[in-house]
Amino acid sequence: MSIVVGILFAIGTYLILSKTLLRIILGVSIFGHGVNLLLLSMGGLKKGGPPLLGLKESSFTDPLPQALLLTAIVINFATTALFLVLSYRAYKVLGTDDLEELRSYEDE
């Protein structure tokens, strides 16, 4: 599990460091998955039932990370969407999606 998290992070980083906007967005998404899984695994894996009261299991997994993750997933989605539209817009206006070419000014 942890190794998968590591691999996701590695791939995400590699994609973020590339020059194409789309790849960067993909990288951020993968990063998000990695973070989610990391957070979830920090809460302890596979102990007890789902955190629903009234089920038969006497114990359940830690609900707090799950609640955090739920927020994280939704926000991740929001930022991805925004980023995507932004890059689309940037491409339309500037005609490139290469980061190096997007730099037009030496000093702001």
Partner: protein, 804 residues
Amino acid sequence: MSWFFLILMLPFFFALLVPPLHKIITPKVHTGWFVLWVPLIIFIELLLNIPTISAGKRILHHLPWIPTYDINLTMSIDGLSLVFGLLISGIGFLVVLYSIYYLSKHKEALHNFYVYLLLFMGAMLGVVFSDNIFSLYVFWEVTSISSFLLIAYWFQRDRSRYGALKSLLITVFGGLAMLAGFILLSIITNTHSISSMISQGGAISSHSLFMPAMVLILLGAFTKSAQFPFSIWLPDAMEAPTPVSAYLHSATMVKAGIYLVARLTPIFGGTSLWFWLVTGIGLITLLYGSFNAVRQTDLKALLAYSTISQLGLIMSLLGLGSAALYYDAGAEKTLYALAIFAAIFHLFNHSTFKGCLFMVVGIIDHETGTRDIRRLGGLMHVMPISFTLALIGSLSMAGLPPFNGFLSKELFFAATVNASGMNFFNMENLGILIPLVAWIASVFTFVYCLIMVFKTFTGSPKYVKSSREIREAPIGMLISPIVLGALVVIIFFIPNTFVHYLLGPAWAAVLPSFAQEGILNVHVSPWHGFTPELLMTIGVVLVGLLLYKTFKKWRGIYRLYPQFLTLNNLYDRSLDGMESISSSITKKYMTGSLRHYLIYIFGFILLLLGGTMTLGKGVVFDSSLDGPTNIYEIALLFAMIISALAVLFSRSRLASIIALGTLGYLVVFFFVLFRAPDLALTQLVVETITTVLFLLCFYHLPKLKKEDQPISFKLTNGVISLGVGVVMTIVALAANGSKFFDSISYFYEDAYELAGAKNIVNAILVDFRGFDTMLEILVLTMAGLGVFTLIKLRMTGGKEDEGV
């Protein structure tokens, strides 16, 4: 809140009033007429305190400021602060009066000028009356800032800005050092009050922080009082209007360092380091200043160097006097204590004659339009009053009777001669140097005094004819220097009145323990018989006259010293160097490329996280906490890895987007496996929408280019990504393996009772952490708005959106 505070804060209140007032009355009345009353009121108030103070009492006024940190506005009026206060307000009054005639009400930005001047006046009074070291520090820095503003008053001039910056850099550097010293001192003594520090006496001198504190505080005092090698800012500060030079840069602000040294003498005095630093630096400054003053051709620069040398003289006297604290009893003790008296006396005299001289130079500048000695001459007949005043001031500075400078100069010579007889602090071998240096410096002082008066006022008129006729200054401009010049003479004839009411108490304030023993008695008289000091004065006059006559022959020695080794050059070059080095370093890493910044971020994550984990012992691998794994899970994991790699390596956009979608759905599976049904449902929905969004957008996005980057580019990325991956793996493993705390989630087990919900996750989201969720919705709304705006913008954006 006592009356005294209101009086002291008057300059600050008035500084607020000046700008609106200026707007109303200009150009009918000169703004200075309104400002004039401020120093006058303060002066009178302080005069009223003289009877109490000269009776040996001390007045304390207390006003809490930041009581939590024991930082309060405690104002203590004793002899020393009273002398300074009178100087500040008295000369302040004269300077404002002078400035009314000096600065034109039509041309100058008077409101700025008087705001800065009042700011300075208030701050300077704050410095000398503060008993709390931190309020003293605050006022101290305000004087630096107002001095900066006043030097840059004619900010259109390049030299003004240069001089202002220089003075600010040097004095604030010293101020910061002083702050550090103050903090050390407060750690040693466990108090913020100067008077209680003094009462702790010599007990603190054995503390290990004692020496650093002393050196740091002296750094502050030396920079402020333009001691060598920090003296370079004072000549450049002469770009300020002459009233400012007369006020800040000769009479008051530069004496702040002297004040501090005098004030702290009971704490630090009596140690050999203090003695050598204060005396040694003072003597070097004295010699350096007087030697350099001789070659100046600008009258104000000459006065600046002479101020430096006189400050050095006072400083060295304070150093010599501190030796008195070395003795327990005996005649020597009184003898050396006399040096402190000489310092205060000379300080007072210096303010009178130097203020007078500055004002005269201002008059010359004002009337002729130049301060260059080479272009001046023969002014004696046109400006008889100015000539008289200049003569009085210069001869007093040169140490001739019948002027007050003679009295204090004699005391100075006496102190140096006494010092040569000291038999401690390694004085046996070096003792003879002190009177020698003092004597040589005095010869140069004599020479530049002669140059100043006679090159300017006698000889043939060399000055360039200006359009208007050169004549004596208006009477209003002459009042102030006349008052000061009169004081110079009056003090000579009745010195003991001043000693009794002003200088004596100040002396007692510097050496409180001596005052209690009642051994501080002095009677100043011009004639003591043929003492060594009189012979020294006669020698100064003879040799000085000789050097003045032969000046043309030996002035070549000034050219011997290489230009690039001067302190100014050093300052300029180090400033330039620092600027270019820091900008080149900044340019090197602030490339403007997002990728580089990301590399820095990831690099630091690697360094910090990886570093902490290898160095610290936080990493514990413990597989016992892991649950059992079965074949499906392993298959899932492999599927995830493959799909992630597919995102990485696929050539087409469609493939990578679909691979990303696959990855997302696989994560959903995991959520199910990990007993997180809510997460699974959410992820499912979100992933679907995301994929759809990607597919919508990808039509418009360009094709993925083959990453034809150089191998080094890929390698860097690869190394960093691998590093991040490894570190995160370790983090994940460690997080799994170690449990430092119990989960705090037990609280939510009561969800049903508390929130009426059986689903704990939901209860947390909408109930326990409701605010978080609300903010999350806010984020979503903002993102939605952003998306909407960006798309909308395309619709209405105009011409640049072709191809849609």
